[in-house]
Amino acid sequence: MGAVRVVQLAVLAWLASAIASHEDSVQYLVTAPQKPELQIGTNFTATCFIKNTTEVTADDLRWKYAKGEIPPEQYTKISETALNVTITVTNETSRWLFCFIPKNSEHVKIDRWKYYHGINLKKGYLPKKPENLTCKAVQYKMSISQFLHCEWEPKHQQPGDFSTFYKLNVHVLNTEKVFNKTTTESSADIDTETFPSFMTLEIWVEAENALGKVESEHLRMEANSFIKTDPPSNINIISEDSFPTSLLLNWTRPIDKTHVYLIYEIRFAPNGSHTWSHVPQADTNIDIQSFRLQNLQPNTVYITQVRCKNERDGYWSEWSNNSTKRTPSSKPASKPDVWLWHISESADEEQVWLFSKEPEFANGEIIEYQISIQDSKEKLPNKNMWEKIRVTNPNADSSTKHATSLKEIDLREKRSHIVKVTAVNVKGTSPVATIVIPEKENVPPPVQKLEVYPDAGKLCVEWTSPNSTAVSEYVVQWTRAGKMNWQREKKGIRKTSVRGNLEEFVRYNVSVYPLYSGWIGKPLHVETYFEQGAPIKGPSVKLNGKPGSTEVHLVWEEIPLNEQRGFISNYTIFYSDGTKTEAITVSRDTLSYTLKPLTRNTRYDTWIRVSNVKGFADGHNHTFTTVKYAPGEIEGIVVGVSLCFLFVVVLTMLICICKRDVIKESFWPQIPNPGASTIGTWSPDYHIKAETSSENCLSGISVLDVDICDGKSVFEEDKACLPLKKDKYMSEEHSSGIGGSSCMSSPRQSVSDSDEGGDIADTTASTVQYSSVVASSGYKGQTPSLPSQQAVFSRSESTQPLLESEENPDMLSLEGSRQSQRFPPESLSHCEGNSDNPNQVEIEAKTLDFCPVGDDSEDRQSDDAQSHEWSTTAPISSYMPQLGGYRPQ
């Protein structure tokens, strides 16, 4: 051990000095070995030397990785100036290993970099042994390529810092020929100059990297075992009429037999089939160039392929191109497949269409069917009653592939029909196929339960057998719009899949018929889809009638079957007023709906969404606007209002009729007839006096125009008043007949205001005639003994009522005390009265008896009271129009 240690020290010392000679001479630490190539998983020992300084010793040395210091337990002190460290190399081991001095002396601080030295660790794995070495030489033109392609594993480089180089060696045994090629890949093409046919080759791969070298197993085989030739060419198939079940194959070998001794493999399949049949290898395990395929189906197109390889080892060539040939025909070997399709059914008659598919073993193109239909009530079938139906365009209709429409027959009630069909080709006639269509009353029972569902890309049909055990087979029929197809199943079958080209999104009606020794049983039907899809489009909605004010009645039609593409689950009605969209879902059976409540006079968009399990489709928008009033609503309102109005009118009229007396009293009170008054006798001299008085007191007359009535009434009043106006000049004693003034004027001579005033009254129809008493003395008539007290009556044509304030100044200036005269409303209203009631007149006359001029001052108190009472009703009496006109007094 000691000697070894000495040698190690010597070597390290030499190494250190050698490294030091190349490194900067002022470096105080040196590590060794530099750039070591390490195998992951092994231990590695590095040494750190101190040189050119005595400031530090080995005790001061430390080792560390890039990220952390190595524990001192892994150190080995070699000498005062050398320190070893031993580490285990792993994948995680950092690339650099450093030796340094952690001491913080001044010397170290100044030259810290000189107390630092590292080792670059290169680590990796030994190369893996190449395995699964395979080599291949392909055909080139009419010989074998000189390049041998070899592959091996591993396919990828190992992790680590070392690249693995592979050296492929090919030694032609018993010669000095050794070919090799080096690569970093896992395959190589090696040039053998001339392919060493029939020579034994020894092939191996050497994998080598910085850590070592390893060899693969040596592959020792005859060179021809690596050959992969081209496939046989010119495959020629011969069909011989005398051998309808056989085809003869010839081909050309891809390469001369002196190069390679080939064996072959042949496979064939009927056209359209995806299952190959292989000729037993023992039959083709020899170098042949022809072969006869046997036990084939007549009149069937077969696809054939051939491949070859070296007789013992070697690689199979690719399969040759497809070669097809039809076997010769022979007479049909099985019965045609006859079936019917009910096209119409009524109470007493039923029509069916007969179809026939080619026999399973038609063995040739069916050119004709022969059909015989026998009624059950016919005694014996006529053997010569076979009807021949030529097959004009076989397989033309893809939906009824291989099916030929035979004929349409009417089934008579209460009779069963026996249908017999044979298929004929150029070589002969098939066995007879028979089906029996039973009479309606005696149809054998159906299958008990039928389920149809898509599963794994097929449409599965599952049923439960009928109670009867006499079922001989089943027929599964599927129809779509105008098309029908069927397939037969054996009696033990309860579940099958439809063997036909079913289209997606098409609704099929699948039926299962049990057959009882040819008797067709009652079917069971199910509607289904092979695959559902979202509807193509939604229904078009329209309004039934005109839109109402708060509701509309929508109707739509079911979308066509080909656009439904699935079973409709529901409809959703959408309607939107532009701000809010509402949706209502209704069942699939619903094809109309009343939308309500809607907003009046609002524009709506509505559309229908049809949904099925796969999605939905929206129909076109339909826009409508609700009306403001529903039809008849306006009429209703008008009628209602009219009825109310009528009711009010009638009610008013009734009230008027019932209360006419009250109304009459209220509106047309009794006016005392001045004519009947006791003071109705006027002396003629008054006229002169009055006239004089009138002239004298003309300045005291006030004329007011008041427009209180419509022109018509006033006009008529004026008309009524017109005679008065005319008469007023003829009789000065005539009262103006207006309001309370007339009351005042009754005992006195009444004088119209002026001629102009009459004219004005004529021209101003709306004026109300007022009279104002302007006399300054008492009643002349009542006090004939006092002639000095002549009152002057001036008629006013003013349209304004005479207000007290307007009257007073003049009145005060003229008469003074006359201002205080007031009359109760009754008296005023009587002014317009034209009642002829003498009693009333008398009453009025009596009332007037209490209004002497002389009493004014004396009865002021009572007048005030009367004035107060009158003032509350004065406007009514003051503005009262002269409806009654004037009565001639």
Binding site: N174, T175, T194, S197, F198, M199, T200, T258, H259, I286
Partner: protein, 221 residues
């Protein structure tokens, strides 16, 4: 008398037994030999025979290529005979001698192939298929020679091994173009004839060594 008869009968029985024993031993030996032979014919001999036939096919092909590449006089130049070429016939009486003869001839052909290749390199375009084929048949002859050597060692292990160099081969002196063409064609024709003889020889040897089994195996050969 009885003893004499008895002794005579005993002698007869002993003789018969010895004869049967000898026959049995011969049969055992023969069967052993046949087994060994069958093992041999299943690999190297058949392989060598196939290689010889393949080389012969190549020699036929190269003569066609050679004639096609030599111009109008190709038929004439191939009818000329030359001396100094290896003997296409196989010499020797014993099978080992014949095989040794094959080996020697193959070695003799090698320098001739090289000479023809050099001459045709001057006469043909660089991409001429003839040059490639000349290279191929030259290498193939080496392979065949190595197979003959191995076969010889397997069949005649006690015989002295075949020489590696086969002795000195005399090549023709420098030739003009016509002579070169004639020389090349004669070499190839001689080689083809030689390979034909080798194939025959090996087939005979195979029949001897492998018997019916070999014939059955190579019934399509």
């Amino acid at each position: 008398m009885n003893e004499h008869v008895k002794s005579r009968s005993l002698h007869l029985c002993t003789h018969t037994a010895a004869t049967l024993l000898s026959l049995l031993l011969v049969m055992v030996f023969d069967s052993t030999k046949a087994t060994v032979a069958t093992q041999q014919c299943g690999s190297t001999l058949l392989q060598t025979l196939k290689l010889a036939r393949f080389a012969q096919k190549e020699s036929v092909d190269i003569i066609k290529t050679y004639k096609a590449s030599q111009g109008d006089m190709s038929e004439i130049i191939c009818k000329v005979s030359l001396s100094g070429l290896p003997d296409p016939n196989i010499s020797g009486l014993e099978s080992s001698e014949q095989m040794s003869s094959v080996h020697s001839s193959l070695q003799e052909f090698s320098p001739h192939f090289k000479r023809v290749f050099d001459q045709q390199t001057d006469l043909q375009l660089p991409d001429s298929p003839l040059l490639d084929q000349l290279s191929v048949i030259s290498r193939r002859s080496l392979y065949l020679d190595s197979q003959i050597t191995v076969l010889y060692q397997q069949l005649f292990p006690n015989s002295p091994p075949l020489g590696a160099d086969g002795g000195a081969t005399s090549l023709p002196p420098p030739q003009n173009v016509f002579q070169q063409k004639v020389y090349g064609c004669v070499v190839l024709k001689t080689y083809k004839e030689f390979l034909s003889n080798v194939s025959k020889y090996l087939r005979t040897l195979k029949n001897q060594m492998c018997g019916i089994n070999a014939r059955r195996i190579n019934m399509f050969f």
